[in-house]
Amino acid sequence: MNIEIIGAGEQQIPVSIVPFGGDEKLGLAIGEVVSGDLQRSGLFRLVDPLGKSPHAPAEVNYADWQVRGTEALAIGTVGAQANGRVEARFRLLDVVKKVELIGQAVSANDGQVRAVGHRIADLIYEKLTGNKGVFGTRIAYVNRQGRQFSLIVADSDGYNEQVVLSQHEPIMSPAWSPDGSHLAYVSFETGHAAVFVQSLYTNQRKVLADFRGSNSAPAWSPDGKQLAVVLTRDGSSKIYLMRPDGSDLHRVSNGSGIDTEPNFSPDGQALLFTSDRGGSAQIYWMPVEGGAAQRMTFGGGTSYSPRYSPDGKSFVFTHLSGGKFYISTQDFQTGQMEMLSEGGWEKKPTFAPNGKLILFASEARGRGILATVSSDGRVKQHMFTQSGDAREPVWGPAQ
């Protein structure tokens, strides 16, 4: 994984991360993860400790850090315990007020050093920005290399990749269950698009929808009790609801056009979806059990792949205009559309659980890559996987 950051937040908080004491190797590894997370968010500026390495509050001379211009200082120790767990005891100190902001032990199973780092970065992020951190969350995406398609789950920074499924037929549209235990996705392994659900704990998988034609675009309801899927079994692509066990299948969208890419509102009462019922692909809204749909996007170009923001006040989508795709958001109240990117080959945007970052598929140097943009459009990040084309990303739920 190779990560490039473009742009910076309007105000960056200067922070110093001192590599933790104790087990030096673990300390360096965790320090790298914490620094990387904070830097990529665009909201922090890392200030070099310049040789100072306190590990306990008594060893901190605040004047040293005030001179360096840092506002918050993270210190601590880390070690492997007898039972194999890695435990870090860390503190976050306010350099200006000279007080301790956080003092906490974070531990994880052996080999989960990065998880410890992400957790610490989340604690720092939450304390200093007031927003929930997402460094400890996971993402899923599809990697395509020649004819090989792999469904991958990884940490939010793209590291710690785990292959969930690998095959020679396409895989599309992974969707997390709200508790993060399952992925629903589209696989072509039976010769056409069918929807599968797979447990990330046991790897057990089952067919959820395999009717004639295409079965696709799975989306979970926020309570995990329903899935929306798109089927062509009765004609053109329409939205259906069903339970995760496959029961109670019923159609909720009507008409003759294409309805696809359903996404539940955070309260579970409505769906956003893509439809060409008005003559071109646009975003529509409708009550979850059907009823009159409202068109949400207007103007030139076409729009696809809507997803609600976690607070339900806006949605993100990809807008195709003049041959370029733009990651865009639209506010429900004002109807105002905002393009967050300069345009390019940018598809499938998905909000981080805290609503502050948007992950999407992009392209750079001739390869499909994962990219993020802060929801204010200021900070962008490109994540290059080892090889192949990364596509169809989706951000997992909060931990």
């Binding site: 056409h192 698009a193 034609g213 295409s214 696709s216 053109s236 692909a281 169809e392």
Partner: protein, 169 residues
């Protein structure tokens, strides 16, 4: 109803013409993109085909129809191809085909999956009108997932906006 009958009659005539053509192939080596057949056609000077499907000069040798961007209706230029296959399937009820809809990469994967399905279903409907039975036909979509051309330009996109008519062996 009348219209349909007429077109079937026309098609039968077309098929009849087609089955006589192979004799001409020997004289003019095929420059058409039908890759597999020409060598055979040249080897024998008076080749006829028991099965018109194997005749590289037949309209049935065309197994793909192409579309403009975001369109799923079979275009006028390709209608004779689909109609010929409909007539063939009608006369050969044991043959089955799989209709595979494809799209260029503009639009979302899911929208294109739906569009490709509509393309394949449109061809299926036209084949049924031509006399093919529903049981002979299967329609699927690959959306933009199996592109023939992979560059971001019209040259690739034009090849990818397509429904393939694939006969089961």
């Amino acid at each position: 109803m009348k219209k349909i009958v007429i077109s079937i009659v026309l098609l039968n005539l077309l098929a009849a013409c087609a089955s006589q053509k192979p004799q001409e192939t020997a004289a003019t080596p095929a420059s058409s993109p039908v890759a597999a057949a020409p060598a055979v056609a040249m080897a024998s000077s008076a080749q006829t085909y028991d099965d018109a499907l194997n005749d590289p000069q037949s309209i049935l040798a065309k197994r793909s129809v192409y579309y403009p961007f975001d369109v799923s209706e079979v275009q006028d230029a390709d209608k004779p191809v689909v109609q010929a296959h409909g007539a063939y399937l009608s006369k050969n009820p044991a043959r089955t085909v799989r209709l595979e809809g494809n799209c260029d990469e503009r639009g979302s994967n899911e929208y294109n999956l739906a569009l490709g399905q509509r393309r394949a279903d449109g061809v299926k409907k036209m084949l049924e009108l031509g006399g093919a039975k529903s049981a002979q036909l299967d329609s699927v979509s690959y959306g933009e997932e199996k592109p023939v051309g992979s560059t971001h330009d019209e040259a690739s996109w034009a090849k990818n906006r397509r429904t393939d008519i694939n006969y089961a062996k």
